[in-house]
């Protein structure tokens, strides 16, 4: 609070206004961090989905190749 003291004295701002301003700034930072987290989370989830798909495709192609190799032997 004492950081705002010169402002308080110079502009006759009430302590309530300062508390409100501090809360607004706090909320601003909170929402900014939510924004950044969510933006990256969306991309990370998509990358994880791609990794899962890659694994599934590798499994699928390996099993198909094995199946095709075994067929003529029967």
């Amino acid at each position: 609070m004492h950081a705002f003291l010169p402002l308080l004295l110079a502009q006759a701002v009430s302590p309530d206004d300062l508390v409100r301003e501090a809360q607004r700034l706090q909320r601003n930072y909170e929402f900014l961090s939510y924004g950044l987290i969510v933006a990256w989370l969306v991309l990370v989830v998509y990358v994880l989905m791609m990794v899962a798909r890659e694994r599934r495709l590798k499994r699928e192609i390996a099993s198909l190749k094995v199946m095709l190799e075994e067929r003529p032997k029967k």
């Binding site: 900014l32 950044l36 933006a39």
Partner: protein, 225 residues
């Protein structure tokens, strides 16, 4: 080798963004909006990358319809999927900004609505692809849908210039913009990193599409026996 280059490029893009987050955290807040303003450094590059993906998808779809080569269909689906993820990030960051500045999560403003419609159209494109089994028919139908969906891209871009919207006007690539030079540089670096990330993701997705096609042909071969 190709994989290693892709992963290196992806890591470089992530490093650039991480460095930018550090630089942006040290910037002062905007006079009227405060710290939440800094979300623009991610919101705008996400949008530009997503709309670029839409444009590439449209070009690939036209090429598919003209040349009838499946590789263009693979490019279109890969780039659309990546673009959809970026557009989702753009819509969410915009919504979080709006909650602080406008007091609401969403407004049915022309820019916001057209961007949401764009997301829905590209999501429908992916859903339609799942619904059609036959590859050639699927590619043809998807190409038409992709070209149709692209109509919305210029509407999203021009909406803030052509209509009176609640969304802030352009601050980049515009004579009316008042963005300081050093902030613009950070924005350009972020845009470069996002584009690079988008390109890497598209290349990886494209390779998966090629593997999927190989699997489909192996399946047909297995059924032929």
């Amino acid at each position: 080798m190709r994989d290693k280059i892709l992963y290196l490029l992806g890591a470089a893009a992530v490093l650039i963004v991480a460095r930018n987050i550090y630089v942006i955290s040290g910037l002062p807040g905007e006079e009227a909006q405060g710290a939440i303003f800094k979300i623009i450094f991610f919101h705008v590059p996400l949008a530009i990358t997503a709309l670029t993906c839409g444009t590439v998808a449209c070009a690939a779809s036209i090429l598919y319809l003209v040349k009838k080569e499946m590789k263009y269909d693979a490019v279109a689906v890969s780039v659309t999927e990546v673009g959809l993820a970026f557009l989702a990030g753009n819509l969410i960051t915009g919504s979080i900004w709006a909650r602080i500045i406008w007091g609401v999560w969403w407004a049915w403003d022309v820019r916001l609505t057209s961007a949401l419609v764009c997301w829905i159209l590209y999501a429908s494109y992916l859903m339609i692809r799942h619904a059609v089994e036959e590859p050639t028919q699927r590619a043809k139908l998807a190409a038409v849908v992709s070209i149709f969906a692209f109509i919305d891209v210029p509407i999203v871009i021009l909406s803030i210039r052509l209509f009176r919207t609640q969304h802030p006007g352009p601050v980049f690539f515009s004579s009316s913009g008042s963005f300081p030079h050093d902030w613009s540089m950070i924005m350009m670096w972020n845009l470069f990193a996002m584009m690079m990330l988008g390109a890497v993701m598209t290349m990886i997705r494209l390779r998966q599409e090629e593997v999927q096609r190989e699997i489909d042909s192996l399946r047909r071969l297995a059924h032929a026996f």
